[in-house]
Amino acid sequence: MKTIALAGNPNCGKTTIFNAMTGSSQYIGNWPGVTVEKKEGRWKGDSDIKLIDLPGIYSLSPYSLDEVIARNFLLNENVDLIVNVVDATNLERNLYLTTQLLETGIPVVVALNMMDLVKNHGDRIHIEELAVQLHCPVIPVSGLKNEGLDTLADTFVKDIGRGDRLHFSIYSENIQKYLRRVEGVCSFCDAAKKEWYAIKLLEKDEKTMEHIAMINADMQQIDSMREEMKAEFDDDIQSIIADARYVYISDLVAKTYTKTRNGMCLSDRIDSIVTNRVLALPIFAAVMYIVYYVSVTTIGGFVTDWTNDVLFTEIIPPFVEEFLISLDCAAWLSSLILDGIIAGIGAVLGFVPQMFVLFFFLALLEDCGYMARIAFIMDRIFRKFGLSGKSFIPMLIGTGCGVPGIMASRTIENEKDRRMTIMTTTFIPCSAKLPIIALIAGALFDGASWVAPSAYFIGIAAIVCSGIILKKTRLFAGDPSPFIMELPAYHMPQLKNVLLSMWERGSSFIKKAGTIILLSTIVIWFASRFGIDDGAIVMLEEEELSKSFLAVLGSGMAPLFAPLGWGNWQAAVAAITGLVAKENVVATFGILFGFGEVAEDGVEIWNAMALSFTAASAFSFLVFNLLCAPCFAAMGAIRREMNHTKWTVFAIGYQCLFAYLASFVIYQFAMISVYGFTMMSALAVAVFVLFVYLLFRKPKSKEKQQQKEYAKA
């Protein structure tokens, strides 16, 4: 088995080439323990050749997670060949990575992509000269038009595993003399990788230093060489090396690229309108409205409603039921299949059509280049509370459904921002929480018009406050990641890529999240349908929910919720069934108050609700259900996106704790006017003070900021 790694800048067309070369034999997953997507496939021409699509990166420096992943893979995984995809329309910056890839000592084949665009512009690239200068094959291709890919394949088949490469250095004499001296000390690696390690040692690259065992004397020797070099060039090593690379590249591009065009191209003209100072926000609002409207309310909504209300209510269950009856199946088994498994699968699959529509739009926005502009436009607002401009999309989608909202966090590059977005997105009330709002507003607030907006306000406040608080903790602190982002040229999105991306993201949700959700719904089904009656475990009728294990659990948990004002077991059970789907909360109250089926807003049980809740306790119940752990489908999505058990537990734990404390403070503050100032009030004040402290305390990295200011001055 041979391994080929596909490396290149973001937006260089790497995915198109990867798709064209692997066809349908792709496996999509995550790199171990991180939220970065990993794509793997077999080459169409020979299934003994494995292709790995590395994350899109600008450099092999260890400053972003994507870079570290790509680097570790190239250095530690015995890669036989690198196909470096280079965007020919953006040659200078793309070749920067090429110079680094060449230094790894792994054979490189450069695929010069988007050659058709270069020709259309009337420009010329002298391919042979470029290949001679880079000492590696350079193949002109067009992933979009499927041109040159056969030649590329022929070349890598010929080149794979050919170890004897011409060694050449891109650096000037006076830099090389230092490199050769350091190489003299590097006895631990083979000749092909020596220049790479020499540079890393001079740069004092942390990730490299961790892996190298060197004796102190050698280290000191390198230290003194480093100081000598810094003194000679009057700069730090990283700057010297980066400068030298670009000097070499500028020279190379001047020799090989003939430019004829001048003035504004189409992409520039589009951009001058789309991110125009006046028009940018209205256009942005319109685009978001269309995405939301189509994927959440119209097409996506219709199909989701159809799957939930027709397919999994009127079509499949009666059919299966009939079939089970004809088999004379035991009652418990048919209940397990119908109410447990089919209902569980239905709960997951119901979201899928909506998600596919949404992923279609997200892929479209990414592919055409508008996604980067969204971040550009929104950055100013979201940075204030520790998120990035791209967090806007998950949150907007989250108002419809948290599951696709969480999945939409994929488009955020920075890992910390992405985790934070995953954790906070479900604070926004999704459409399934609306019946709870309607129930509480109708039963206890006379349908007051402020209740629903207040739910959204609380959701937004929870996101903003969590952003600020979490950013100051050790988990999310550290250097504020610089927001230095390429704004790629606009281009026509490619239907095939958009559909493929939609399919990959959608199906990976079904596969991974489906299992957890299914299992959880079966457990809840068991707990709600079985109970102890007359000393024996028996199966219960639907109306007998009050005898079930779930009711026992609810009674057990009720005291926990007493400080929030709703210590009755019915409310506790409703909150638990809400974990399956938030719509269940209202339905559960219906059953528990003895009304069986109720309308969506539970109008039948308003009186019963008004008797067992007060205004304060009902509002506290509402807040808790808005903010606490979302439904199993959304938790599955969190697990899928975090790709890490500890982070998933942390995220869900944080949400529950935040919900608990927020409800506690709201209820106890309201109670002061009833019972006066009690112990509980004091505790609530203490929690509130702690909250304010966490919100306004100085961040941990104060010293660093001071250093920064000092450096500026």
Partner: protein, 77 residues
Amino acid sequence: MKTLNEIQPGNEVIVKKLHGESACKKKLMDMGITKNTYIYVRKAAPLGDPVEIKVRGYELSIRKEDAACIEIERTTV
């Protein structure tokens, strides 16, 4: 000393030096902002920050805060 964050859209400048020791500096260099590079400041975002610049033939978005570590010199155009 003039820095990039002080430059109004529509102007072209040359990079003199990058200050600081941060990851930000390294990232800027990776993206092609090195000594003697030409930078054209194209526009600011609708809310005033970040700014869009053109460097080495492509468009880059950068916060004013990060642009402050780029020392520049006006070109005589």
